[in-house]
Amino acid sequence: MSAIRRLGGFRFWSLIPFVVVAAVFGIYPFLRVVQMAFGHVSVRGGGMTFEWRGLENFHRALEDDLFHHSLAISGIFVVATTVISLVLGTALAILTDRATKMQNVARNVLVWPAIIAPVVVSVVWVLILNPQIGVLNQALSTLGLPEQGWLGDGVGAMAAIIAVDVWHWTPIVYLLIYSALKGIDSEVLEAASVDGANRSQTTRHVVIPMLLPAIAAAAVLRVVMGVKAFDEMYLLTRGGPGDSTTIISLLIRGIVFDEVDLGYGSAVSLVTIGIVLVMAVLIFAVRPILRRRA
């Protein structure tokens, strides 16, 4: 009996720190976001006053062109970065698997960007993209080509933050696909080659179909990362020029800290969380259907 009582003791306190952190610093702040979304919060001299305003913030969000623009920009950003990094990451994984001499070095170097601080990634790309000192314009002028503004116009800035994100996070896709690739039974590949398939046929008809579950997992992960993105875009473009790269996290930061409007910022946050959850539910609903087809 004493063993059971002892178990009860350790059983509970082993879980308590986790529950306390999640409740006090996860759930409680979330509830404060919900509360503030229904009112106007004014900050005066360190104190905060809350005034109930009902659905006012949500009505404003419905009519806010900048919010809708920001959702669209985020959508483009998420789709572009996910697709490009999936293609490149899968290709790199297959190349590494085929290589003999470069395999070990590649497995090491190709991971670097994923562990570099996003802030430093921004610094690296400022040094590359800057029109005056950037290495990209230096290369262009050496080749006798006209120098570019890069982050100066809307389309260029958007292309640049997509390129930077792909450079930064393709390694994650690469690692996931490469470890799935290592898990493929070599007998399957031998069977394919015995049947007369050459290497590109084997890759296309045997390897890639077997990698699909890993590719799907990587796709979900990259979508989540894309929705969360903030650091590099904040430092490289601040959402500009104009609002051409104002992805959703940049918009919320601006509302909360530049306009000091915690009520509206909370409402926009809440709507964003809602959209993310609907997307998550859809993905979970679609997954079994895809699996049955495969």
């Binding site: 063993a3 002892r6 003791g9 350790f10 059983r11 082993s14 879980l15 720190p17 986790f18 952190v21 999640a22 610093f25 996860g26 702040p29 509830l31 404060r32 976001v33 905060m48 790199l92 190349l95 085929r98 290589a99 003999t100 001499k101 470069m102 090491n108 190709l110 991971v111 670097w112 562990i115 570099i116 601080a117 996003p118 802030v119 921004s122 400022v126 590359i128 800057n130 000192i133 450079w167 994650i172 690692l175 996931l176 990587a218 929705v227 969360k228 903030f230 650091d231 430092l235 996290s249 919320i252 930061r253 909360v256 910022g265 946050s269 964003t272 969380i273 993310v276 959850l277 998550a280």
Partner: protein, 271 residues
């Protein structure tokens, strides 16, 4: 014996160049004299590094802050996650309890941290830990805890129940079984998750930016960000500080490559 595919090797080398050259360029720029950076020449100089720590610069304090935040976050996260992961894995919690806690973990991983920032800001202010290291440590723990717990739970799940039962039969307490018997068996998992959390906390920027005023309570990532200004002539110091931040991480990546790969792939899938 696999034959060498020269096209694969070549494409890989090109990819590695695309990855490594920007990082090497950063380090080269950091050793270039400021006027040579502007005029696109090169002259070896340490002046960018010297300038970082001149006068009443907060950089030194910020590097210290980041070290404290990264180490404390790792220690607290690993302690809390190991206990919770083991508890959920082996101590007979109901499916409902496990489901709710893992569900909350998944949600914290899923939603953009920025959407919680308004709430976190007022809560930290309420507790009087806004613009302080304890506040930043707690938030780093919060955002690393879900995946660390899920990862370690998977490692604990892989151990047979008979280990714990044998310990209990021999008269050891539950705490002792956990500490002396089970924990040593998941050392590889602890190393992989721990290094991953350490890197995440060292790299963290968003909470440092929004929960501090950017002075000597801020982490080094915020210090770097304050140098990244479109028009300012701070390229040299910016590159120097970037190099100081990134070189330790690259060295860690080369030494502990196996653990980092395990942490990244696990962290990615669980995240």
């Amino acid at each position: 014996m696999k034959r060498t595919s020269w096209s694969s090797e070549t494409l890989l080398v090109i990819s590695m160049i695309i990855i490594a050259v920007p990082v090497i360029w950063l380090v080269i720029t950091s050793f270039n004299a400021p006027r040579e950076i502007i005029s696109r020449g090169f002259e070896f100089s340490m002046s960018n590094y010297v300038r970082l720590f001149e006068g009443d610069s907060a950089i030194g304090a910020q590097i210290g802050n980041s070290l404290i935040i990264a180490v404390s976050t790792t220690v607290f996260t690993m302690a809390i996650a190991a206990l919770a992961g083991y508890s959920l894995s082996s101590l007979g919690w109901s499916r409902t309890t496990t489901g709710i806690l893992l569900g909350i973990s998944a949600l914290i991983q899923l939603i953009p941290p920025m959407t919680l920032v308004p709430g976190l800001y007022v809560v930290l202010q309420q507790f009087g830990i806004l613009n302080s290291l304890p506040g930043l440590i707690i938030l780093n723990v919060l955002f690393n805890l879900p995946f660390a717990t899920l990862m370690l739970k998977v490692y604990f799940d892989a151990l047979p129940d008979s280990i714990r039962e044998a310990g209990l039969v021999d008269g050891a307490s539950e705490q002792r079984v956990f500490w002396s018997l089970v924990l040593p068996l998941v050392k590889p998992g602890l190393a992989a998750v721990g290094i991953y959390v350490l890197i995440m906390a060292w790299n963290e920027f968003l909470m440092g930016l929004t929960m501090t005023t950017g002075g000597d309570q801020a982490p080094i990532t915020v210090g770097i960000a304050s140098l990244v200004q479109p028009q300012a002539i701070t390229y040299g110091p910016m590159a120097a500080l970037g190099s100081l931040t990134v070189v330790p991480i690259i060295i860690l990546a080369i030494i502990a490559n196996k653990q980092i790969v395990a942490g990244l792939t696990g962290g990615a899938v669980k995240g």
